[in-house]
């Protein structure tokens, strides 16, 4: 490292603190890939026995047919679950969840939703989440936990029948899994849109600053 770049780094530090540590960025992008594979292959599986009066177009499904969708789904599940466990463990252990996502005050959510809808929500400090962000991020983490647990319950309704029973039995757990997916996809639409509207937030998730 040259003296010049070292000086730059030092000079940058006060004005550009680390917003997202390395472990978090790594978990985020691994999750992004795993989640896309799970969603696209999950849609392929859904199409084999639709719960509702529609199917997903072949252009947005993964696997080509049911067996291919299943192979992708049950491969990516390991990546999703292990990465998710690492993320949850580090999120609690480092105190990040407690510091960034808590507390979520209903009054703050209300005023921030209003500000967001009138395009007056402040994003000056990326290290501090507004109440809407806190609510969405906490919500998607909970949806992630529900989708993994309902997935396990659907995959193993005999070996893990106690878990399946918690969701109301095999037929109900299919709906739980579907709606957890819908919640995550809904979050994704909002999340990606906002990340594109506030590009520095995207940069922070890549470079950390």
């Amino acid at each position: 490292m040259t003296a010049e770049t070292a000086a730059d780094t030092v000079a940058e530090r006060p004005s550009h603190p680390v917003i997202h540590p390395g472990w978090l960025r790594l978990c985020h992008w691994i999750n992004a890939v795993a989640m896309l594979v799970m969603i696209a292959s999950g849609w392929q599986i859904y199409n084999a026995a639709p719960l509702f009066g529609f199917t997903f177009p072949g252009s947005v499904t993964l696997g080509g047919w049911l067996a291919g969708g299943l192979l992708w789904h049950f491969a990516a599940m390991w990546v999703l679950a292990i990465n998710g466990l690492v993320y949850l463990a580090l999120g609690f252990a480092t105190g990040r969840f407690q510091a960034r996502l808590w507390p979520i005050a209903p009054a703050a959510v209300f005023s921030d939703v209003k500000a967001a809808l009138t395009f007056r929500l402040n994003h000056a400090d990326l290290s501090r989440y507004n109440a809407v962000q806190k609510l969405l991020y906490t919500g998607v983490i909970i949806s992630g936990i529900v989708i993994v647990l309902s997935g396990l319950a659907m995959w193993k309704p005999v070996q893990l029948q106690e878990l399946t029973a918690v969701f109301g039995g095999y037929e109900w757990v299919r709906y739980v899994h579907f709606f957890a997916m819908a919640a995550i996809v809904g979050f994704l639409v909002v999340h990606v849109t906002l990340a594109l509207l506030v590009p520095k937030s995207l940069r922070a998730m890549v470079t950390g600053r």
Binding site: G64, A67, L71, W72, F74
Partner: protein, 258 residues
């Protein structure tokens, strides 16, 4: 695509046709990745090499084999599939296969001989009367299809573990293989073969199995997905060689435990 006709009464023929079409392994469906244009969105994340052609399929099949091992570890012989009251039985119980009911095998019960082979002491073929004379058990359990839907059925027959003991099977062998009249086949792990609910089913709903449900014998395993429950079974072999199966060879997970 095969023609589908003469469907069983009470079953929505359009739905059934769509099911069969989805399950049909015609060449266009065989490639896991063909026709999956969404991959365009994923290629940039995974690189081209793994995405196209047989390499991706090979990697996915390796992971599927790993999942067989994981499921064997999860399998507990004492874990019984939930049982239901008679009122919960799905009526009409769906017929499901990769062919129409009119193309299902028709077997003559009086000529039927169940062949037993491989690592067993007694390879004498069994007549249907002899099989029916075995101690019978009953179960009302949920059949879960690989497609996701499920239905509750009522099966009566002999415990496979009792039968294996009776023919002097070497239960240290790894697999039991079943062959069916229409050429369908399945290989299952010995632990599942010995599970107390694994049944050589001769009756459905206390009536002799109709053709739709696998006359004269279906192997009923409530601990495995529906396609691992063969119908029209004509032969069994106790073996240490995995002989695969009709759907497993095309990409469905081999263990497919529940």
């Amino acid at each position: 695509m095969r023609r589908l006709r003469n469907l069983i009464p009470g079953v929505d023929s359009d739905l059934l046709m769509r099911d069969a079409a989805r399950a049909m392994p015609d060449p266009a469906r065989r490639g896991f990745l063909r026709g999956a244009a969404s991959l365009g969105a994923l290629t940039f994340l995974t690189g081209c090499d793994i995405i196209d052609g047989n390499s991706a399929e090979a990697v996915l099949r390796k992971i599927s084999e790993f999942n067989d091992g994981a499921q064997a570890l999860l399998f507990r012989r004492g874990a019984l599939a939930p049982e239901y009251p008679a009122s919960a039985v799905t009526r009409p119980f769906p017929f499901n296969a990769y062919y129409a009911l009119s193309e299902a095998p028709v077997l003559d019960g009086s000529l039927y001989r169940f062949e037993v082979g491989g690592l067993v002491d007694n390879k004498k073929p069994w007549t249907l009367d002899e099989l029916h004379a075995l101690p019978q058990v009953s179960q009302i359990t949920r059949l879960i299809c690989v497609e996701g839907w499920s239905a509750i059925g009522s099966w009566q027959g002999a415990r496979l573990s009792d039968f294996l003991a009776r023919v002097g099977a070497d239960t240290r062998a790894k697999y039991v293989w079943f062959r069916c009249a229409e050429g369908y086949s399945n290989t299952i792990d010995m632990a599942t073969a010995l599970h107390p609910q694994t049944q050589m089913a001769f009756r459905f709903d206390n009536e002799i199995l109709p053709r739709a449900y696998g006359f004269p014998m279906k192997i009923r395993m409530p601990t495995k997905l529906g396609f691992k429950n063969p119908k029209y079974v004509v032969a069994m072999e106790v073996t240490n060689t995995d002989k695969g199966g009709y759907w497993e060879d095309q990409g469905y997970n081999w263990f497919s435990g529940l």
